[in-house]
């Protein structure tokens, strides 16, 4: 394997004899590419040039000490395993080294076995870390993707269930569909009897969408009449119509339907529910015995415009 493809190990020591001894030791391990640095500045420059598997550093060096180098290195490369080498048996140095994130503290002169042990410890650490990340990202994602509050019977009632549903939505949104925020096409504010109080369409809704939206609107109304008439909670429900989704916030007197494609996030769902609550609170007296006179609910369009703007903002 060409040396450029081998894992790089950096060894920093101001003493020429130590650097040569390290170089000689590494002849035993051709599977690693040893890079030598004669002081902290040299080490920092070499760290910029390529990726390293690990670093050995002397502590007692002129100008910038090994402990200062360690602090800088851990700031820039927090995952880089660093082994400090020193002939000092000063406990304070070892405490400082560990506090600054050193993986271990080796006494000089190190034996071949000591150096080999450090390499093996690093390899083990890297493998465990990779395995842990693999478990974290694949198994955890799979677990979150498989969450279904409906199937788990958690959507019936109760604030804990609502919180759990929210948590699941947030996890799925962040882990399974990160950055995939849908596009809102239409907002409909409807009375329980199906009268359109107000509606708002996105400016970029294409002409060809109009028929589909018309059909969807009928579906929304039918769905509401068939399925939601008996409901009294204000939670959201989602139905799919081709590529389009319709999410409802269902209030005491009205329904807010949001027609969208893709996926909308939790913040948007919260904004939808909040909008309906605010609208009903302001117009409660009118809505209780509403006679279908739209002029009595004249500012309803403002609610939809603000909601549209809030959802659009959440996308960024």
């Amino acid at each position: 394997m060409p040396s450029e493809e081998l894992p790089n190990i950096l060894a920093v020591d101001d003493d020429f004899a130590v650097r040569m001894a390290m170089d000689f030791m590494f002849k035993k391990w051709p599977e690693y590419n040893l890079i030598l640095a004669e002081d902290a500045n040299d080490a920092l420059a070499k760290l910029e040039e390529r990726d390293y598997m690990m670093m050995f550093s002397d502590i007692n060096m002129p100008e910038i000490s090994g402990l200062e180098l360690l602090e800088t290195v851990k700031g820039k490369y927090p995952d880089l395993p660093v082994f400090m080498l020193t002939s000092e048996t000063d406990i304070q140095n070892s405490i400082t080294a560990f506090r600054h994130g050193a993986m271990d503290y080796l006494l000089k002169p190190p034996t071949v076995a000591t150096i080999k042990g450090a390499i093996e410890k690093t390899v083990e650490y890297i493998e465990e870390k990779a395995e842990k990340e693999k478990i974290d990202m694949s198994d955890f994602k799979q677990m979150v993707e498989g969450f279904s509050p409906e199937e788990m019977g958690l959507t019936k009632s109760g604030s804990k269930n609502t919180e759990f549903t929210k948590l699941v939505n947030v996890l799925q949104e962040k882990l399974i569909h990160p950055g995939k925020v849908g596009r809102v096409h239409n907002l409909f504010l409807l009375s329980k009897s199906g009268i359109v109080i107000s509606n708002l369409s996105a400016n970029d809704v294409e002409e060809t969408d109009a028929d589909i939206l018309g059909g969807m609107f009928t579906a929304v109304k039918n769905f509401m009449e068939d399925a939601f008439s008996a409901r009294s909670d204000s939670s959201l429900n989602d139905i799919q119509f081709g590529n389009f989704h319709i999410t409802f916030a269902s209030g005491a007197y009205s329904e807010l339907a949001v027609v969208y494609t893709g996926i909308i996030n939790q913040a948007s769902e919260d904004a939808i529910a909040d909008t309906l609550i605010a609208f009903e609170l302001e117009h409660m007296a009118v809505l209780e015995n509403w006679d279908g006179d739209l002029s009595k609910l004249a500012n309803s369009a403002d609610y939809l415009e603000k909601l549209f703007s809030d959802i659009d903002k959440d996308k960024s």
Binding site: D15, A17, V18, K28, V112, A113
Partner: protein, 92 residues
Amino acid sequence: MEDFDDEEWAEMQEMYVNHTFKELQKVKENINETSIDSLRTFGHNIKGSGGMYGFDKITNFGLLIETASKTGDLEAIISNLRELEIFLKSKM
């Protein structure tokens, strides 16, 4: 060094002995001008490297020179430098 090619290892030891001998001559020649810090550094360095080349005795000389430098004991420093020189010559 264990498991290394004998010839290569002998070359490494020879290189180290020569290198340390040269460093020792520099320190000796300037013993009056050399600051105690430089003597301490010399002791510190050979303390850290001697054992890497299989010379635990050099590591021990390093420890004695470094310790004597810290207490400013010039007589002990000179004595240990002399002993070190004899040892190095025996390996050349």
